[in-house]
Amino acid sequence: MEVIIIPILASIAVMALGKKNQIWLSALLSMLPLVFVAQFFNRVGVDGGWKTLFDQPWISDNIRFTTGFDGLTGILLLLTNILVLVIILGGIRNDEHRVKITALTLFMQGALNGVFMAQDGLMFYIFWELALIPIYFITLTMSGVNAFKITLRFFIYTFVGSLAMLASLIYLFLHTANYSFAFEALRAVELSHTESIFVGGGILLAFLVKIPVLPFHSWQADTYTNTPAAGTMLLSGIMLKMGLYGLLRWFLPLAPESIEFYQPWVIGLSVAGVLYGALIAIRQKDMKRLVAFSSLSHVGLIAAGIFTLTLEGLEGSVIQLFVHGINVVGLFLVIELIERSTGTRMLRELGGLAKNNRLFMIFFMLIALGTVAVPFTNGFPGELLLLKSLYAYRPNLSLLAGLTIIFCAVYVFRMVQFSMFGEGKGEVASLKWNEILAFGIITFFILGLGFMPQMLIDIVHNSIVQIGQWVSEARGVMS
């Protein structure tokens, strides 16, 4: 409850303060929910099930405002609030839109916390949609010929997916015993095979569009490229994770009967996306577009891992969604700083940036290593687990998906080489305190999780085992 309300109030405060507001103040405001998240970890813990923290009738007596907390929620709350802090510290350019974007980012923080804490189906949907509003208005600050078309395509894609999910949730709702949207009530609904394929399909569509998995990805690259950096970071770092979280939390438990049907499709499309994204990323000239496609490739692997339904796959996916959030925001932050200093993000027009700003180069290099999943960086353990789970499902697919490690090294190091080394074509301004702090947080997680990945696994283990149990109860088998 607090973590939802406080950021929304903070965003109103930022709007009211207007231009007088400084970075340190908004950073402090965005840190407040972190205190509460830490308190949740402390007070509620991650050992039991999904514990309810707050419960109140909302849309009707049985459609309630219910927030819950467990390890999975905890990880995503951590990710959201840490990344929002990073974005506010480093991601927002000091131009005419600064106040608006800061306020919208804070608003989005509240909505996202709501998505991850919702224990009620309709509440989940409401916050899911609510998170779309601020990001839409952030994308509206983009300029260019096709700007409105790009933003509208983004909105309509995700909105159509969400409506499909809403239809499925309403269907489940009408089949519950006492017309309730509560997670447990929705889960208790028994569906026939045909019903579950439609209901599961609706829910799945919302998540696949958001992730995005291959045929639903066409909104992604344009939106990422043209949106101001803060928006790109929010989209790639957190919003994407809403889709993956939704798969774990809502799709698998609510429509386990349909998993059998969708499993080969989703895994196949995800692995196709892994290769497609990586291959296209290699040929990109625009750094932002490159990272956009690399993101398509990385999350494809996570989605595939979830659908293998193995313990390694599910745990690996949680680790990797956290790690991908950190790394991709780091990359976009690097690109944003390069663009701020040099005015371009085209690889051809860049070079030799490492010469005068060693600190920046060290940060960039660490983030790049994390993205490539070098051992002892955060990318490695998750990717290993995911590939292992995929190997258990189909060894050939695992081989194909494993190629991504090579491709990833190609496009990331190509980006590093063309921008940082070679003949000098520009300089990156020396880093300010807030940018150093932002990079510091990111590097802390890159190295910390690289050495101690078990920390994340410990947090989510109970939740994942629980989800695995539900799925195996419905399917009879759990490998």
């Binding site: 009707s60 309709l122 409401i126 509003i133 208005f137 600050t141 300029s143 159509v160």
Partner: protein
């Protein structure tokens, strides 16, 4: 009844006040009397006060005043009060217009509380005749004259068809009273093998056609865009909100009598609803005029409300009440911003909105809230209204709800044009938007109904 009484007498007073001073503006007086009517009606519905003597003047088989009727009267009076308040500055022509609008509202009261089809007919006439005048109120404007004539012709046609339907119903059931109408057919229904008289079904069809004209549902919507565009903004808003809500309530109460007896109408009415949803939303996509876009959007909303007719079991009127309130609040908000901008820039297309967010950020926020509520995106009153409507209608016509969701997705395509112009375009025009306080109040109401609908509904029902 009390709302009818207060509104009627303050309308008469307004007419006399306007006689001497032609240029004076009594909008505030009108708005206050309407809010008082709304408040008294609401108090009656909550049993805080009662006007038994007043209500005993009207025979109970003509008009009834239960809780629902009071609540709908309160809603209608509140909406008209808002309209008059928001448009008190522009388009001022005379107090006769305010009076006419309030007389028209009296017709709407009759439509929501009739017990006898003759009262329904009278209500429709009392509602429509002032509107013919109001539609042509800007006398020098050709479009307005055209709107008036069109509305008059269409109104005359639909009334004729409606009356024929009434006659058929009388022939088939032997009564014009809502309570009695169902008795004969249900008796025949109970005796297996006795077919319903064709007259009943034919009567339902003809009366529905008459009412569908009033709510501008496809395929009887062709008059709507022209009339909405030509009429003065205030009248357009009145037609899009009050007339629609009153007609839907009347429609619902009428069909409710035949629910479970003659259900043939459910099939074709839902097909018409589907047509309306698709037609309204698709046609709105390609409009350049703001008013025309909003006209088509109101056709689409009529299409969603057709779902409401299908769940005629007498217990769900609160859904229509909530939907009507949410839709009216958003319409008043968006329409009054559009009106002020078109007055200050002289443009009627979307470019009037250019640079709005930069020029006056708070009005930009209000516009966002209004448009999102119209599109049905949480957390706004419009989302909750649509959610209640869709989730209840699902059990009756699931495919229509699917189409409704599709329609909502399409509607984003034209609603978000407002944002394109307000947030992405620059403009040299710098005139500020007036009435900030009222706009913010309206958006706060929309957010309140969006954030805590159940608490509000529990307080009212």
């Amino acid at each position: 009844m009390i709302a009818l009484f207060v509104t009627f007498f303050s309308a008469v007073v307004l007419l006399f006040l306007g006689l001497n001073k032609k240029e004076s503006n009594y909008s505030i007086f009108a708005a206050i009397s309407l809010f008082v009517s709304a408040g008294l009606s609401w108090a009656c519905s909550a049993n805080l006060i009662s006007f038994g003597l007043l209500e005993s003047w009207v025979p109970a088989n003509m008009m009834s005043f239960g809780k629902e009727q009071h609540l709908f009267s309160a809603l209608l009076a509140f909406i008209v009060g808002l309209i008059i308040l928001m448009f008190r500055k522009n388009e001022f022509v005379g107090n006769d217009q305010l009076g006419l609008m309030m007389f028209s509202l009296c017709g709407a009261y009759m439509m929501v509380s009739y017990q006898h089809l003759v009262m329904l007919f009278l209500g429709i006439e009392v509602l429509s005749i002032p509107l013919f005048v109001l539609a042509g109120a800007s006398k020098t404007n050709l479009a307005s004259n055209e709107a008036s004539l069109k509305y008059f012709l269409m109104g005359a046609f639909s009334t004729g068809i409606f009356l024929l339907g009434t006659a058929f119903i009388y022939g088939g059931t032997g009564s014009l009273e809502l309570e009695m109408m169902g008795i004969k057919p249900s008796f025949m229904h109970a005796m297996q093998g006795m077919p319903l008289p064709v007259l009943i079904n034919a009567g339902i069809v003809l009366m529905s056609v008459g009412l569908l004209f009033k709510v501008a549902a496809a395929p009887f919507h062709f008059w709507a865009p022209d009339v909405y565009e030509g009429s003065p903004n205030r009248t357009t808003l009145f037609m899009a909100t009050v007339v629609k809500i009153a007609a839907f309530v009347a429609f619902y109460r009428f069909l409710n009598t035949f629910a479970g007896i003659a259900d043939a109408w459910k099939g074709w009415i839902s097909i018409l609803g589907a047509m309306t949803i698709l037609w309204g939303n698709l046609a709105a996509l390609n409009q350049s005029s703001v008013k025309r876009t909003l006209a088509f959007s109101s056709i689409a909303h009529a299409g969603y409300l057709v779902m409401f007719l299908l769940m005629a079991d007498g217990t769900n009127t609160w859904i229509l009440w909530f939907y009507g309130l949410a839709y009216a609040l958003a319409s008043v908000l968006v329409f009054s911003i559009a009106n002020q901008l078109s007055v200050s820039t002289g443009k009627n297309d979307f470019s009037a909105f250019n640079g709005l967010a930069k020029r006056s950020p708070f009005v930009g926020v209000a516009l966002v809230i209004g448009v999102l509520s119209m599109a049905g995106i949480p957390v706004s009153a419009g989302f909750n209204a649509k959610f209640y409507l869709f989730s209840f209608a699902w059990q009756h016509m699931p495919w229509l709800v699917g189409l409704g969701l599709l329609g909502s997705a399409i509607s984003v395509g034209y609603y978000f044009k407002f944002f394109k112009h307000a947030f992405m375009q620059e403009s040299e025009d710098a005139s500020p938007v007036l009435d900030r306080g009222l706009l913010l109040l309206l958006s706060a109401l929309i957010l309140l109904l969006g954030a805590m609908p159940w608490a509000v509904l529990n307080g009212i029902f």
